[in-house]
Symmetry: C2
Subunit: 242 residues, 2 copies
């Protein structure tokens, strides 16, 4: 009675860990959000998949727990990491009624890391990861975290920067951060990391506030020392005389 919660990385075949590959191969049933099972079907055509649409997270987790309880080794798949804004937390919360099911979490390369590699090395020093989605988080809490993270001079990674309903959220977030970070702060973003149509851009925080990005974009706001070197976004660790 085993449930794997598998983070399969950005979506490229090579971005997956060997452990994630093994967990998927060992599973009788693979359950996930449609967009993600569609990606995995290409890599594992011999496996059985079950998918549900957006905002069906609780149903998906329940299906996965029931499937594991029925004796099928099951993988609940998440893009990126299985914990970072992923399904592992919810699975543990809901597993109280499924105590026979053993849950194993398989970590994966979250967008903060795969996106960072595309831009260069923005995360070489301390950083914070914040989601702008207010579906499950009060907007005041998000604003407070943006403010304090900017004040702490963290490099800040922003997930879910936009959606149709939240088209102006990134601009608002940039304004909050500009109370503590210079408008010249080096920023970058990557869209469709590791997938078809991947593109990225390096720009200033003031420019970022004017930029239109979609929900498939991950944003990086540098710290006060972040610089552009050979066209890459680089945050120094602090080695002297480099």
């Amino acid at each position: 009675m085993k449930l794997y919660i598998v983070g399969f990385g950005c979506g490229s075949r090579d971005g997956m860990t060997l452990e994630a590959e093994k967990a998927i191969k060992l599973s009788d049933l693979i359950i996930g959000y449609t967009t993600y099972t569609d990606i995995l079907k290409k890599y594992f055509p011999e496996k059985t998949f079950l998918s549900t649409g957006m905002r069906m997270e609780k149903d998906r987790v329940k299906m996965a727990l029931k499937s594991a309880e029925s004796g099928k080794t099951t993988a609940l798949v998440c893009s990126g990491d299985s914990v970072v804004y992923g399904m592992a937390g919810l699975a543990f919360e809901m597993s109280k009624d499924f105590t026979d099911v053993e849950i194993e979490v398989v970590a994966g390369v979250t967008a903060a890391l795969s996106g960072s590699a595309v831009l260069g090395a923005p995360l070489t020093h301390d950083f914070a990861v914040i989601s702008l989605s207010d579906l499950l988080t009060p907007p005041k809490k998000i604003e407070k975290r943006l403010k304090l993270a900017a004040q702490a001079d963290f490099t800040i990674v922003i997930y879910n920067p936009s959606s149709r309903k939240r088209f102006d959220y990134l601009a608002k977030a940039c304004k909050i951060m500009m109370n503590f970070k210079s408008p010249e702060t080096v920023c970058g973003y990557v869209r469709n990391i590791g997938r078809e149509g991947q593109n990225s851009k390096i720009l200033t925080l003031a420019e970022l506030a004017e930029e239109n990005v979609d929900m498939f974009t991950t944003i990086f706001v540098g710290n006060s020392e972040t610089a552009v070197i050979r066209g890459k976004m680089v945050t120094p660790r602090g080695y002297f005389n480099v």
Copy 2:
């Protein structure tokens, strides 16, 4: 003239991405800190390795850039991710004199993610990553970041919590965080993630302040909602009626 900066994950064979494996296989020379090349030698016995001791980061990066410039495809390897407190930043900084060398960064599963999977799901919501090492960062900056991250109610991941010289740094950090976080805050740590002798513990923030940990330990300090569920450290995302 290619230099890969490769994050190979926590050190278990399975924790590596396919991309990291490919980059290492494609390389003529693999350069890294002795502890890490020793791990990789077991997995890739046919390859040529060159290692240097601790605090030789600049020499190591220079060797790697020179090796790539001489025409050898070279991999500079880092445990975890190649950017997060890794060598990629320094490599870009030092590459100004090696403009013919193409640098490709290969992301990997950093300890925040692999450790999180061991503990359960502590990073389901916004989080901050802070290193307590003051070799390259002024202590005041570290203290400021701890204070503001605690005030923001982030889950906080602490790297480099201790060393022989810095045996009391974790206790100090806990005291700073306890100005904003309850002493009952759920915390956890994992030692030797994915390697021989891996062990982990879940405890309160007050207990963590009294704990002896070593430099191979990664620390997780929950947010105000983090709970222990079925013996695991779980931060809820905020789904209702779970």
